[in-house]
């Protein structure tokens, strides 16, 4: 009898799915690409709006922030044109905020698939974040335009930019997974996400640099993981006086890893019941 049981290539019992999970994730990689591809296609299908949107939104926000922080509040610009200073931070922030809110809502918008098909649920939020990478690349074109306009030559550190993009990716995945799982359980979390995103923009160094924060508060300030990401972006794009505050950066990275681990753990815990409670 024992031999017959061994022949089966899949055994499912409560709590046992853990074993095949990461294998399955690999097996379903094509679905992951297809979902990302679908979301990208759909977003840019109504081409005029889709494409323009990822350009207009950061551009207008940049203008507003430049006027408020640069002109009205007259914050120091560290020797670079204020629009570039702002835009270098806008890029990661925009990426984080849209990925985070899209990922949080992704399970609800794909309810249909969750209740009809088996696949590792992690694929859904992950593929939504990928879509925003494409958005990020399009917005990046504006930055190049700004650099040309101001005759600004980026420093050598710019080669490290992808590293910080990955960091931003991990942050939004960590936070997104956690909230996405909570969102399935408690529907009112969708009201919390826009608030966090709006609030976060003002407590993150988007319109100003972290150098405006008093030295003794820098470490405390770095408890916001996006501080590390944004500082990193500024360091890569502007260089010069925009130094990296190392203890803060390490703290941010530590927090991001912690957030991601916690996000995945919580998501995995609730995942099994998604189809039952959604």
């Amino acid at each position: 009898m024992a031999e017959i049981v061994n022949e089966f290539d899949l055994v499912v019992e409560p709590g046992r799915s853990v074993k095949n999970y990461w294998n399955d994730l690999w097996r379903f990689r094509e679905l992951f690409f297809f979902l990302a591809w679908r979301d990208i296609l759909v977003r840019y299908k109504q081409t005029a709006i889709g494409l323009a949107w990822s350009v207009i939104r950061p551009f207008l926000t940049m203008i507003v922030l430049t006027i408020i922080f640069g002109r009205v509040a007259k914050l120091p610009s560290e020797g670079v044109p204020y629009p570039i200073l702002v835009y270098a931070a806008m890029l990661p922030w925009q990426f984080f905020s849209t990925s985070f809110s899209d990922a949080s809502n992704s399970l609800i918008t794909n309810t249909n698939m969750l209740t009809k098909i088996y696949f590792p649920r992690l694929i859904i939020p992950a593929s939504t974040v990928i879509v925003n990478v494409v958005d990020f690349l399009i917005s990046f074109v504006i930055l190049i335009g700004l650099m040309l306009w101001y005759h600004f030559v980026p420093p050598w550190q710019i080669v490290f930019l992808p590293l910080f993009l990955i960091l931003a990716f991990l942050t939004s995945m960590g936070a997104g997974l956690y909230i996405a799982a909570l969102n399935v359980k408690y529907r009112d979390f969708k009201y919390i996400v826009p608030f966090v995103v709006q609030f976060g923009m003002y407590i993150s160094p988007v319109g100003f640099t972290s150098n405006n924060i008093p030295e003794r508060l820098r470490l405390l300030y770095s408890l916001n993981p996006m501080v590390g990401v944004i500082d990193g972006f500024r360091w890569c794009i502007i260089g010069g006086e925009s130094h990296i505050y190392l203890p803060g950066m390490l703290l941010s990275i530590g927090l991001i890893i912690g957030l991601l681990t916690f996000g995945i753990w919580y998501f995995r815990k609730i995942e099994k019941t998604f189809a039952d409670i959604i």
């Binding site: 017959i4 049981v5 022949e7 089966f8 290539d9 899949l10 055994v11 499912v12 019992e13 409560p14 046992r16 799915s17 379903f28 094509e30 679905l31 297809f34 979902l35 591809w37 679908r38 296609l41 759909v42 299908k45 109504q46 249909n112 698939m113 969750l114 209740t115 009809k116 098909i117 088996y118 696949f119 359980k185 408690y186 529907r187 009112d188 979390f189 099994k272 019941t273 189809a275 039952d276 409670i277």
Partner: protein
Amino acid sequence: MSVVIKVEHISKSYIIRHQGQSGYIALRDVIADKVKDAFHKTRNLVTNKPVVKIAAKEEFWSLDDVSFEVNQSDRIGIIGRNGAGKSTLLKILSRITEPTLGRFSTKGRIASLLEVGTGFHPELTGRENIFLNGAVLGMHRAEIKKKFDEIVDFSEVEKFLDTPVKRYSSGMYVRLAFAVAAYLESEILVVDEVLAVGDLQFQKKCLGKMQDVSQSEGRTVLFVSHNMGTINQLCNKGILLKSGKITDMGTTAEIVRRYMKTGSVNGQIDRSSVSGTLVPYITFSEISINGLSSNEISVSPSAEIRVELKGICNQDMEYFRNGITILKDGIKLFSAHNNPEPQPIKKGKFHSEFFIPKYVLRPGDYSISIFGHDNGNNRKGTEWIYGNEVLTFTILEEWDTINDFHNEGIFNLPVIP
């Protein structure tokens, strides 16, 4: 023959919540309830009343200790009334949800088709959706590419391949969706009631494809349907589920016959076999044929058939009408209503009679479904109640001259001299 699916003592429980009408839990409600609870508790303690905890949750076992084995190239029909646990069983086998207890083992790739067109996006073209849906069903890119032409051919939408599916007619949409699913390659196929889509001709084509797939290619199929005709045609074995338990397993014909007899016992209609939005207002209680209400009713073809349906109405209704449908092998032959037009019905008992002239039904086994409608203007849309195949009866083999040579078809129309 080797066992490819082995289900051992699977149970699945759901928690039903009684509080609140909305289907979703909001964190604010959870907090509010906790506070309310605490408040009531303290108040009861202070006023010295007994502390009563109201059970807000109830456990419901959708599947209860289900075990069975499936051999390779078996085609199993899973039959049961609404709420018997058929869909839950398929969901567990498709790994969409985990069993609460027990386990199952499978050999070979499982593909499940619980719905056609899962993952379809209205903005994308037919071509794009084929790839997307294929991936959702677990096909690889290369596989889809290889079968692309066949899929398009089967779906009959090649002209509109590059049109967004939101511009498709619902028939085209369904055809495309089914076509993708039809070319799934897997050792085990789990199918929920998806054949009941599209027009009759396409349904036939789908059924033919399913038969091809299961019979000639030797695949294992688990199939759920309410249509006994389809089950009969497609499956070689049946599993009968009732309230989450397997009550019977055996050959399809046997199981289908058992199933049809579960609708009523000696003319008393089983409430669990009746469903619909009118259930709170209408209760169908008894059904009889020519005054007979046993489990084995036989009628001579030369006798008029009088079906009597009794029930209770709990609320006055403006536009009510009920009726019966006669079925043979799961195929609906015809319906009869108690009134030509909907009529007001008063609260209380009601009874309706339906007549089938003699010589209409040929010898064989038949079943009766019962239904009621209320399309009152004080409600939105039509409310309904339906009891699927609640009673079976037999027309005896004693028809000589009219029955044999010159008639074709399933039933006869009465000759009006």
